[in-house]
Symmetry: C2
Subunit: 254 residues, 2 copies
């Protein structure tokens, strides 16, 4: 049995609490949050709004906004316990060294209220002490996730990569939605293409999966598309991504 | 029974031929291609390399590169028959008006050799004559696809939108792959995030689904990401898409 205290009451804190409740080997013994109201979600566990009242546990998981991690870690009223955070971008070293440190970063986009299948979520683990790594591995196994040993520097690379495949891809969907609306076409027509584009990555590399006018060097279609786009920012994005694809496939002149 | 002649022997021609073979109500009576070798794929149907030998059919489907459609349509040795193309970007009017014209555009990315589930593919249909529309609808139904009535101008909008959600999203996956490789991180860690990002669009709009530092106005993370990126083109793309997201959510100053 691994005992856990969760610090924070937001999206990730809630999802971790919920999945830990389904296991037999991970027990959440307390949830801390500065404000009482946010603790309403956690109705089957001891809660506190004071760091001074924190109980003993095998792992403390700080699941708060990046810029609040250090402040909480500094204020912990104990030493030499195992303290982790869940951030993709914060270094392990933002945690105060008076405690043993680690990172427990689930690489996924969490929607408030939506169910999460942790068995599909990679957990990026890092610890300062080798012995602590096993504890995070045990938690990962208990929730059915796959664990990866990832350093702070590697995690930083993953986090920026995640912005490309998640935030930026989603924004491209948004732009397509705008273009469809401006032309009275239902956006849902594009949904199968969106799913298939993502699905392809299961079997071939993105390099191999690339298609389209930029890769072919089809200037006529590119010019036709640019003429069709109404917003300047859409033209700029189209042009830059077309150049980048062209460069990737050795079509420098586009 | 609808009889069909397919003109062309490439990717789409092959996929259409294969799916038509599975139906009882669509019969491919002939496949034309300029070169004989490419016709090897079509081993259970009459083939020809001469437009003069084309047999009679209810529909002629021209499935060739965009810039070859008009030339083939011009050379057809008959008039007043129903002639269509499968292009997302070419107007219906590139087809010579000596025949009745239409468009049969499957909006999906086709991989050579990979199986295609047509029941998930939207078919964008357009005809000059109202009576011909029903013929394309019947074919669409026979292969289990959903049909949409889409004008040439709307199809042009869809085609450029498809570049954003397919070609450009895939290129973002490619960039993430490069960043992962440069940092010795397995790209497959990002796969669940890629799938979830696409899956979300099934239930909420991309506008609602947006997350990340650009939307939050989190300059510290943005600067950290830019510092982590090594290639100038990656920095440029990161900056432009971040600005576009920031603008979408009223954070003009980023």
């Amino acid at each position: 049995m691994v005992t856990v205290v969760i610090l924070g009451a937001g999206n990730i804190a809630q999802h971790l609490y919920t999945v830990f409740q389904t296991t037999e080997s991970v027990q959440v013994v307390q949830v801390y949050n500065r404000s009482k109201k946010a603790l309403n979600y956690f109705n089957d566990v001891a809660t506190t709004t004071s760091l001074k009242n924190l109980v003993e546990a095998d792992v403390y998981i700080i699941a708060v906004a990046d810029d609040a991690i250090a402040s909480i870690a500094n204020k912990l009223p104990f030493t030499d316990r195992f303290v982790t955070h869940t951030s993709g971008s914060a270094s392990m070293h933002v945690l105060h060294k008076k405690n043993r440190r680690g990172v427990f970063y689930p690489l996924q986009t969490f929607t408030k209220g939506a169910q999460v299948d942790f068995s599909t979520i990679p957990l990026c683990l890092e610890t300062a002490e080798k012995a602590d790594f096993k504890v995070l591995q045990n938690i990962t196994e208990a929730i059915g996730s796959t664990s990866y040993k990832i350093s702070s520097e590697q995690r930083r690379a993953l986090h920026v990569s995640a912005v490309f495949v998640n935030n930026f891809s989603n924004h491209l969907y948004r732009i397509a939605h705008e273009i469809c609306e401006a032309n009275n076409v239902p956006f849902k027509i594009l949904n199968p293409l969106i799913q298939e584009t993502a699905r392809k990555i299961n079997t071939i590399t993105p390099y191999m999966a690339q298609t389209g006018p930029a890769k072919r060097g089809d200037e006529e279609t590119i010019n036709d598309h640019l003429a069709k786009l109404e917003k300047d920012i859409h033209k700029e994005i189209y042009t830059l991504l077309t150049q980048s694809i062209a460069k990737t496939y050795g079509r420098e002149k586009l």
